[in-house]
Amino acid sequence: MIKTDAVIIGAGPAGLFAVHQLGIIGLKAEVIDNLDKIGGQCIELYPDKPIYDIPGIPKCTGETLAKKLIEQIKPFKTKIHLSERVQKIESEGNNWIVETNKGKKFISPNIVIAGGVGSFEPRKFSVKNYERFEDKYLFYYVKNKKIFKNKKIAIFGGGDSALDWALELSKISKVILIHRRSEFRGSKNTLKKIKKLSKSKKIIIKTSFQLESIEGEGKIQSINIKDEDGKIENLKVDNILGFFGLIMQLGPIAEWGLSLNKKHIPVNTENFETEKKGIFAIGDICEYPGKLKLILSGFHEAALAARGCFKRARPDEQYRFEFSTTSKSAHERLGVKKK
């Protein structure tokens, strides 16, 4: 069991700045995020796109903002648990027990939910009964490519994951790349290589097709794909891979007993605490009159929620407001060297 002053759910800009605001007032935090990288929507949805409304920074990309925030919280040496999703929250006395899908447990008087619109999960197929093949013959990721050796694989998607895996798996298996339109959004360079391989029939490309149905008992025997005019083609395959990107799903947050309003968690605007004592919500996921879904609002919410956490983490201490410019204790926490 990991003991900390606050568990932060979500490593997007709001969650990262919460680490800073907690750290500067002397509180320790642990961060958990379902993605395999730090930065939340900034890094997953718009790493290369510019943001123009961060105060003091006229223009920066999502990736740059994430990097800067990571740099800013470096002095606090906060552990960020990636590729883990918080599954369960339970109260124990004045504390909360937080458990992840990988069985990791945390105990803390405070939880700061900075989960954006939920966790990023792969977009799944929408055909009937696809679930029965999931994780056995149908995948949304490749963990061990050896299982595809000498198999016939249908890869669906038009982005980099689909193209990269089509190229890679074509070395050890028969690949059919299927996409709903003729343009691919993945790297042009990879596409060129794939088109070259398709000339020698090493990869078969099928565009303007989508999965219609999967045939087979126990294992996959064949798939039916449908083109834009409704024409159906049957293909014998052993495995199906789908790369349709990640979508945001509220996931287990809905099961933590918090009242929700259209996927958002109502909070007060004094310290962004939810109706449950010690559970705070900041950033895109929280809701209050006048809420703006801006990164800068998330920063403000993080600062106030951190002060709310202080009261519960240090009930016997008096919180003192200080400026980072002049506070000696803040400087110590930030590791500022004395002149």
């Binding site: 929507q41 949805l45 718009y46 619109v117 977009r123 929408s126 998607g157 038009g158 982005g159 996409h179 709903r180 339109r181 343009e183 959004r185 989508q210 834009e228 349709f244 990107g245 990640l246 979508i247 945001m248 799903q249 996927k263 879904k293």
Partner: protein
Amino acid sequence: MAKITYIDHTGKSKTLDVKNGLTVMEGAVQNNIPGIDADCGGGMACATCHVYVKEEWFNKLSKPEEGEQDMLDVAYEPKKNSRLSCQITVSNEIDGLVVTMPEKQI
């Protein structure tokens, strides 16, 4: 102002007056039309405001840009006439537009 008709996947329809300048997505969200989630709030970053536009209207709208097509790749059951409703701006020209929502957005 334009009349926009939103039809859900069961066939239930609602027609609204939506102000010029708003998007078809905003018209739905502001009037609590279920079936359009718009998780990213109009940033063309999530594909949860996905709608099907009736053919005759589809060709009248300006063509979707590349970024929108890319997002539609990750939408729920995209079709030839798929659009992101956050990318359709309401004007007098689209008075009478009919959009159909997919069975679900995620």
